[in-house]
Symmetry: D2
Subunit: 343 residues, 4 copies
């Protein structure tokens, strides 16, 4: 089969012909129908520090994917050939305290598909059933491929009730776009979204016309949000940029007694004024990673099933797997929404 591999300790990737994997006893083999590119894939492709610390080439990368069950491991129950599966990236051990108390997504011995094990940028992939989300038959595989990153946004969004609350979103990359749409769907009363990139602002404008979009290179977003909220600030900040500027602003614009969800991953430590921005305001800050297994998936499916929101416009480009260089470079450029790769 074709597989996109990280073959050496250097930038780039390579499309290779490899054997179709054998599913283990608790795994299914899926024929991959659609995959999506995540920031992690760009790290791996670029071979930056994040990748160097985690990746052991040669390996197949990619972890956002959707496929049909093609073979079934010996111990597997409840799956049939042809079932459509979306892939959960986090492989829980199933035995630690976190796994046994409803927090498999922060398992103490977590492995990540496409990082610690072979991923989905290939014609076939073997997936543990503990990482399979069965999709309703007839689901567009493109949607199946983006449920995982949608879940990242939704997990952070729903750390507390969002409904009828004012929200500020920092960062409108693909996960930020999902967060924006999800905030609207879950009933935020007013949404501010902050992003310097014009391409992304354009996309957001079409996606949620009622949101107030702020370009921090044009105006001071803190001032704008405070003015619009009678000086109080918003009930909720969603930090999805991972950028020091965004993180600081997320805390500055939240009201006394408000909450911040930290979703974007800063690449280095960030200076925060804890006294003014967290302690005196009694702000609650939530680290948010991955998706609750499986609460977040049920929520994400609900959003899709409602018909209230069509996330496909967030998918802006589609490439065959062979054009991985073009796709990964485009993803790196920030001039795109979600980019799909088809093996």
């Amino acid at each position: 089969m074709k597989a996109l591999m990280k073959t050496g300790s250097e930038p780039g990737a390579e499309l290779r012909e490899v054997a179709v994997p054998e599913p283990g006893p608790d795994e299914v083999l899926i024929r991959v129908k659609a995959t999506a590119i995540c920031g992690t894939d760009i790290h791996i492709y670029s071979w930056d520090q994040y990748a160097q610390e985690r990746i052991k080439p040669p390996m197949i990368f990619g972890h956002e994917g959707c496929g049909e069950v093609a073979r079934i491991g010996s111990r597997v129950r409840g799956y049939a050939i042809g079932d459509l599966i979306a892939v959960e990236t986090h492989i829980p051990c199933g035995e630690c305290f976190q796994c046994r108390t409803g927090s498999q997504h922060i398992c103490e011995r977590m492995a990540i598909i496409g990082v610690h094990t072979d991923g989905v940028f290939a014609e076939y992939a073997k997936i543990p059933t503990s990482c399979c989300w069965k999709l309703p038959q007839g689901t567009n595989p493109d949607l199946g491929a983006i449920l995982e990153p949608m879940g990242v946004a939704i997990n952070g969004l729903l750390k507390e009730d969002i409904n009828n609350k004012t929200v500020a979103i920092f960062g409108l990359g693909p996960i930020g776009q999902f967060g924006l749409a999800a905030a609207a769907f879950w009933g935020a009363s007013r949404i501010f979204a902050v992003e310097p990139n014009a391409y992304r602002l354009d996309m957001a404008r079409r996606l949620v016309p009622k949101a107030t979009l702020l370009n921090p290179s044009e105006r001071d977003e803190v001032k704008a949000i405070l003015e619009a909220t009678a000086g109080r600030g918003v009930d909720v900040s969603l930090e999805i940029s991972g950028d020091p500027h965004g993180v600081k602003r997320a805390f500055q614009v939240v009201r006394k007694g408000g909450r911040v969800s930290l979703i974007g991953l800063p690449s280095k430590p960030i200076e925060l004024d804890l006294t003014a921005d967290i302690i005196y305001k009694e702000v609650r800050a939530y680290g948010s990673t991955g998706r609750l297994m499986w609460k977040t998936w049920y929520d994400t499916q609900k959003l899709l099933d409602s018909g209230a929101f069509d996330p496909t416009p967030i998918i802006t480009h589609r490439f065959p797997l062979e054009k991985f260089d073009q796709a990964l470079n485009l993803a790196r450029s920030r001039q795109a929404g979600k980019i799909l790769l088809y093996p």
Copy 2:
């Protein structure tokens, strides 16, 4: 009456003879029986940046106090001459969103006794009834004077249930000592406490013998706590030092899915590794300031009433108000627990 005043824009303070204040219609006049020195008072005395930004001399400072009702304002109901009162420092406006939804302690227009209005380092003080906590008759006024700072610790401690959880406390100044005692009282299953100051470690050892005390100048407290918790870290961190070292360690030693209460006030921004220490671990961080009005006071009173804990050993020195220089300098030296001043 005698009153300890900040009279000029420079270090120091002055004991003056001034008129006994008239209680306003919603205030009671208390004859002050005991007061305690807080870090804020040291800021005011030292005339550092914190003080310069907030204090308008001449004014009487001091805000931790206990006294007997001596006169009653015209609109006041429910108070009688002789009632023993502990003072809540935060004056809520009573009309903003925070005040009307149970969060008066983070009132949008909050004033602070002894900072924005005349305080309690005086023979008499006028206190709005919205800041009065009636003590059971016969309460030792020394205890009444320290309920307010005890409440600071308890508010942060009880942001979530503490019972049967493992806890690490950073900083063993007086509020840290209260936090230590309160964590034991509220049922923490194991307590680590981190403090470099030998005097404070000694006090903690006597206060809660079962706590594991760690001096970070002697051993790596992160390593020690991780080793003692099978590498997982503690369920709860209480940051009461306000020190960058403590704040970072508080996040490093908390387990996946754990929580951190930020109580100590850093004097400047602190660099945090959000990705590793908050996001990937899905940590919840709570800013904590003042005391819930009046949930925290009920909790604090409960602790006293239980008889399970005698906080008086945390009071290490007592001075007449005249010896304020000696008392404030001792407080600044960190070679003391709680220091009381008697007008």
Copy 3:
């Protein structure tokens, strides 16, 4: 002034000319602009057991009202002549544990306007400022008069997050209609509403067309709801009928792990199958009374301000105060929505 009074220990009421009341020091006098009839008023008018146990004639009744501030008590701050006020019915003592920990609406020494003190069915009424909700200038007084019963529904609805949850509402009297509209506004994904009265079903159909209305005299509502939810039942039941049939059904149709809010007031004890309907399903049941002061009022105002929902169609009849007999008899007939009385 004109006032509708309960003058004797027998059915009926009497319109009398009485002196305009003097506002006490913590009260404002309002010129009443609109009032609404509540079930409690029907009890008082009918002089049933509920009324006999609580009411001491002669007294003015009525408690749902809206008016303009006409005079201001001596201790009152923050109110001006002409301010438009909606009346909160529950007079909190301000000093008990409930009042001091954010639950004034279940004050240990609660009095109720129009039950324990003179009410609003009059040209003027004196209202403690602890029971005043200032309305935005220009608010329609009819809306002001129905915020209180809207709040009853909203308090029960929001005991937990409702958003994207399936909901069954039992009882579509005026509070049920408000509950229905509020459930839609707060984002319930699917709403079932159960009511035998055709008049009320008609009103509900116009108010929230997407709701599934069930007439239990035509079909088995438990069966219908279970069928529509793949046998699982709904996430949330709102019991607003107070009827034994409704209460039992509310527990029968809620799913495992779901919740029930009990809002309607049964007039006598009700038999419940706790084992099957609550314990084995681990259902959470919430008693709900009055409105959170003032969290619920903020929520209710938000609903109005959103423009998403116009509650005025729930007001079906308007009478001058003189026609009280006609109005109260109509209310008793259940062939009406909310009925307003204008003094």
Copy 4:
């Protein structure tokens, strides 16, 4: 092997010699070291309506048990011969909404060991690994056998934080005794326990000397609890009797804003005064069944590990399996604590 079986549709049971079962692929075979008698076993033995509706003879009953792993199914990982196991009774399907969102104990397709499948009153039993709790080596098997019913009490107790709250416990059968001990361990500030049976009161007196024990046949327990709480009632009621009298009293003695956990299983519907006892007081009522998998087991293990509480005195009788008639009749008499059977 020896096995205690329900062989016919009539009262009684029979000790038979049967083949040692083969563990299925996801099961382990345990050599049973100790078992305990539960109320369910008395139902089965007595062949009452509960049993007739659920049990299909012939089958082995018993579900509270502890044993050593003797054989391991083909798909099982993480277990070794000799591991000591406590049995969780509820077999979750692993695939429904409840199972995938942290509520396996209220699985939509739950089966129960010893009710729907062969149980533990036998020399060997096969147990799905989804129902195995590994005990620390060296644990007394008697303790292992009673963790399951201890968990029933602890699940109900910890529906909300109990610490420093006043608690009333209704019913002091074995689960009530566990609840009593657990309430003390988890820091209840004051405990009332209500039970008419002198034998059980005696046991409770020794177990938690500081509890206030009330015999309702000697004094009105509602009056006694209200008097002792300044007329307010307790913060928390735990209903563990399943008796109509206890259930009603549990609601009557709880304070405004308090909560009730319903744990005991009433055998028929019970009349409740919802208006006075739940709605006007805004009480929260929680149905509680089984144990959270595995949060409650971690909590229960914590209680054991703390050394603060020795539950073995609640075990009052021990019999070899052969003496099952004597043991089951004793259990039925209510003149015993927990009764163990050894195969």
